[in-house]
């Protein structure tokens, strides 16, 4: 299992709420596309993404292949500027990604 999924997070606090936005580099193959030779491109998409803050999972996204390529997500949770949180993701090939974000 490789930690190869790239996640980019931007987080900013406003009035005690952390607004987090992220982009994940991922092909999000639905398994329905065919390549130039007519071969089906196998399924390969993110399945779950978590945000872990102060030991708790504050947010979890479950994805299907209907999420656009290079998934974008914006969510919010209670927190403070200067705090850190982790974002982790896993896909159908059991590849994972993890990134630490600092709240501005």
């Amino acid at each position: 299992m490789s930690k190869s999924i790239k996640i980019k997070v931007k987080a900013r606090e406003k009035n005690g709420i952390v607004q987090a936005k992220l982009l994940v580099k991922h092909p999000m193959e639905s398994g329905l596309r065919k390549d130039k030779n007519g071969e089906t491109i196998p399924i390969h998409h993110l399945t779950q993404l978590y945000a872990e803050y102060q030991g708790n999972t504050v947010f979890q996204a479950d994805f299907g292949p209907g999420v656009a390529k290079d998934p974008f997500l914006a969510f919010a949770f209670k927190g403070k500027s200067g705090d850190e949180f982790l974002v982790k993701a896993v896909d159908t090939k059991q590849q994972t990604g993890e990134v630490k974000a600092v709240v501005k």
């Binding site: 709420i17 999972t57 979890q60 479950d62 994805f63 209907g66 999420v67 919010a76 949770f77 993890e98």
Partner: protein, 153 residues
């Protein structure tokens, strides 16, 4: 082939489409990835797999923001928010997609029930946002048109 520990794990990985990665992931506070719901090819199936036979009521307390005409079905920006108290899940469905369940977003006690996401739409379809709060289900819908472009398409 001799059943070594390595083979066993590889076989285990091949066998399931999702595994709880106990070591590097926190104890799941939320549900496992619902394979049946995500692979369902009809809206009715997807809803049943996710919610059982539970009734879903229309609600004006869910704000679904989606374009009237999507610029490109490959990337459609969607926003959902709700002021329904104790929301723990917002799920998005696209009625006419090959697999209607798009995403299921789970909120902890300290998170705000609002989400922005970019989805794929195969064709003109209803986009449905369903909120789960205190065990009850609420929904709102919007028709989003997906067109055939001229030279941009």
């Amino acid at each position: 082939m001799k059943l070594t520990r390595r083979n066993f794990i590889v076989d285990l990985l091949k066998g399931s489409s999702f595994i709880a990665l106990a070591t590097s992931f926190p104890t799941m506070a939320f549900a496992k990835w619902n394979e049946k719901a995500f692979k369902a090819k009809q809206l009715k199936q997807a809803l049943e797999s996710k919610y059982g036979k539970q009734q879903i009521v229309d609600s004006g307390d869910i704000l679904l923001k989606a374009p009237t005409i999507a610029e490109n079905g490959a990337v459609v920006p969607i926003r959902v928010s709700t002021n329904i108290a104790n929301t723990n899940n917002i799920s998005l469905f696209v009625k006419d997609n090959p697999t209607p369940l798009i995403a299921s977003l789970n909120f902890g006690e300290t998170s705000i029930p609002e989400i922005q996401i970019r989805i794929r739409m195969a064709k003109t379809s209803e986009v449905i946002a369903i909120v789960e709060a205190d065990g009850k289900l609420y929904q709102t819908k919007q028709l989003v048109k997906v067109t055939i472009g001229g030279c941009g398409g």
